[in-house]
Amino acid sequence: METTLLTVNNVWMMICTGLVFLMHLGFSLLEIGLTRQKNTVNILFKNVFIISIGIILYTVIGFNLMYPGSFIGGVLPDYFIDLFGLSLPENGLGPEYADGGYTYWTDFLFQAMFAATAATIVSGAVAERVKLGSFMIFTIIYVGIIYPIAGSWKWGAGWLDELGFYDFAGSTIVHSVGGWAALIAVWLLGARLGKFKKDGSVGAIPGHNLPFVTAGVFLLWLGWFGFNGGSVLSAEPGATSLVLVTTSIAAASGGLAAFVTSLMKYKQYDLSMFLNGILGGLVGITAGADMMSITDAIVIGAIAGVIIVLGVALLDKLKLDDPVGAIPVHLLCGIWGTLAVGIFGDLAGVGQFLNQLIGVAAVGVFCLISAFIILKVLKSTIGLRVSEEEEREGLDIHEHGMDAYPDFRTNEH
């Protein structure tokens, strides 16, 4: 009996692992679609690198770092007990492990797919101007060390967990962690040439392939079935199916809200906003997907959608250049979703809200500082940004000696 249930749970978790993996394709398509064709190869290279190195890093150190069992002073994971590599524990494949929700291997792989996400978020924000080498170094440190430490505070049964901070699938632990770094990176990098004109006006730099953007968002939505559905950590019918429902509803209402808001604000049916709104809704519901009622989900998603539209405009005002909208989607909506757990749903309450605030703040400070240090050092050594000529002519030809679409006649922007 028990083993049968374990088998079911494990099947579900493996599927969710596959779906989260698929999100990396979704992100890749989203990011290239919202940028210019002359940088496509570069962005794809970054994304393929992130998932590959991410898995290896998580194998070598990340997994143990994130689930250390014990802590030093409750904050620093005690990674002195076998930090490196994976070692199958007693009963790691039996019903005793993780209440029979999945095997040790599934556990690892599911978490590994999550880990890479943090860097992918940054990759989109710094697109079209970041130096490939510097970004790769940043990725290694951030995915290999920073993300697992932050994660351990909550999912590693660390102090935030003890505090009562709640983050179901990672609005803060995953999305904000990426979002904060994106914010720092965008600020240290500066905007793309032509984004903010001398005359103070804001230039539009249209993405080169909207079908890819749309396909990317559809795949991300589907991937979120695994991202949130898998965070139940078993196939428990009630919980998993509720999570899928709240997730889909929040996505839908997020998209609709963003579309309506941008229609009223700009008198245009803006597809890119609609799509970003869907992502906003997904990130927003992630922190409390298992705690919300249908109505809560609609409201949380809708507010996330509005945040997206206003957030994009805000960034332009602040002269921060985020080509794919990673900051509104992952940072702003990540924060919103985390706080929403204190406002809506089963956990709603002042105490919870404060815990959520603490969690957001703690993770924020930690990520801001570490991202700042890493990127600042890189900037003042090998440099963060490509030459102006390279940016003009495109990173593909300069860093890769390759065109993404050699058979097509292209326009330059």
């Binding site: 539009a204 730099i205 890119s272 332009d316």
Partner: protein
């Protein structure tokens, strides 16, 4: 012989093409260019609305023998006309010599 270069609205191309066929101008080449001129076009992208004067247009290059010149220009002017800014331009210049590669014909014959 004369070379007629016409820059027209893409949306008017089919009409122009028919008009040319009606006057037996069945040989020409065309491609798409971006035109900078008086016309402006409104765009919005992720909340930034901007207007650009860079508009995609169709560029026709037609080499005709002199007797064909006037009627060709006329045909284009008529068929490409909308009256709104952005209808485009026609330029005429001299061609010294022409060859049809297949037959080695020269001059006006090569344009028949």
């Amino acid at each position: 012989m004369k070379k007629i270069e016409a820059i027209i609205r893409k949306s008017k191309f089919n009409e122009v093409k028919e008009a040319l066929h009606d006057i037996e101008v069945n040989f020409f080449s065309y491609w798409d260019v971006t035109g900078v001129g008086n016309e402006k076009q409104g765009h919005v992208y992720r909340g930034i609305s901007y207007s650009t004067s860079d508009i995609q247009r169709r560029y026709l290059s037609i080499v005709v023998s002199d007797p064909f010149l006037d009627r060709t220009v006329e045909a284009i002017c008529k068929s490409a006309y909308t009256g709104n800014v952005g209808d485009g331009k026609i330029f005429v210049s001299e061609v010294i010599e022409t060859y049809r590669i297949r037959t080695k014909e020269k001059g006006p014959d090569s344009l028949k």
